[in-house]
Symmetry: C3
Subunit: 154 residues, 3 copies
């Protein structure tokens, strides 16, 4: 298996800095070999990069797909920090993706593919996933992604 | 304990075929004895069977309850495949049920009972559960259910 | 480490009674050292204490923050029951908080801080968390919180 760090290099991706712990929660927690991340939003250098409900009269689904990829990269950085480096991660077990949606928009799966495909490129294996359309998200972002990673057992 | 396969037979239920893996995610993943399914939607023979928001002016809550049962059966099939058969499943640990809802509809629990009751009939034990009303779901389905199963330890 | 029971006493908090199991699901399940609670709603003595969508034209976000604290205390009681007492809990691994929201309300994080801060006070450590704005919740409550706790290993 190619190590995750090598895949990131191939893709030309650097792990972003992990946001400082806010109040009473942290970006990720490791317990019994599973790393659960907090819901990650599409923030680059501290600023949201994709806001508003996604759909015909709103935010472009393609832009939201790219934002989901940003969320996934932020989740990877958060998990790597508690795992002791990205190469300690065996893979992704589960993704839950929330997409800011008005009634009538049903393209949540295509949006969250932005996260799933990044994880596929890095780990070369697939995960379980749910994609959900929600009324509103913190900071009015268009997408939020939470992830469970599995720690390597060796 | 009656085996899950025997309970399915008693109920006259066959496990449906598991949907082929789509892109970068799969129907279920086994990690450290826990099987997490993807969000399952009420699809029979590849077609959604219950669409639209549930409630007074929309989809009948009773139909959505039956759709939740379909989701649960799809989840069971997905979990059985990665567990090595339905009888390798010890039971259900957690259900999260998302119900397409407009503001003012508060009957999500009764809808998701369709899933919980099927699992109760099959495993004879109860699980933790959340029921949530959401703005929209993929393919405009009325309900989506994700499940965590526990693998037998023997 | 101060035991959770001592922290509760310091805070002047009693664990509420755990709601009787309803139909096919239960308030919490222990599996392989992880306790998953059902979605907890702000119920005191069997009655919802905070209902309606949160935001400018609706339920006060401060009241919803207090309701999230009530949810967290209910979750703690449910987990303590299956763990064999609150002092068998090592801490909180993950919180998912759902806030009844209309489009345009983006203050979900501040609402769910009511839950996170209670867990911080009791366990002195932080957890991963997602905060989501949803269309509607059971019984029209304003907030629902589900929690994963870790069991002590000693």
């Amino acid at each position: 298996m190619t190590l995750p760090s090598a895949k990131l290099a191939e893709l030309g991706l650097d792990l972003p800095p992990v946001a400082a712990p806010v109040a009473a929660y942290v970006p990720a927690v490791l317990d019994r070999g599973v790393i659960r991340t907090s819901g990650q939003i599409p923030v680059v250098n501290g600023e949201p990069v994709c806001v508003g409900a996604v759909g015909a009269d709103g935010t472009d689904p393609g832009a939201a797909n790219e934002a989901a990829r940003v969320c996934a990269l932020n989740a990877l950085a958060a998990a790597a920090e508690v795992a002791g480096g990205v190469d300690r991660l065996a893979g992704v077990v589960k993704v839950v993706g929330f997409v800011s949606s008005r009634p009538g928009f049903s393209g949540q799966a295509a949006v969250i593919n932005g996260a799933s495909e990044l994880f596929g490129e890095i780990f070369g294996s697939a995960h379980a996933r749910s994609a959900i359309g929600v009324a509103a998200l913190p900071l009015d972002v268009s997408v939020e992604v939470e992830v469970e990673f599995s720690l390597r057992e060796d």
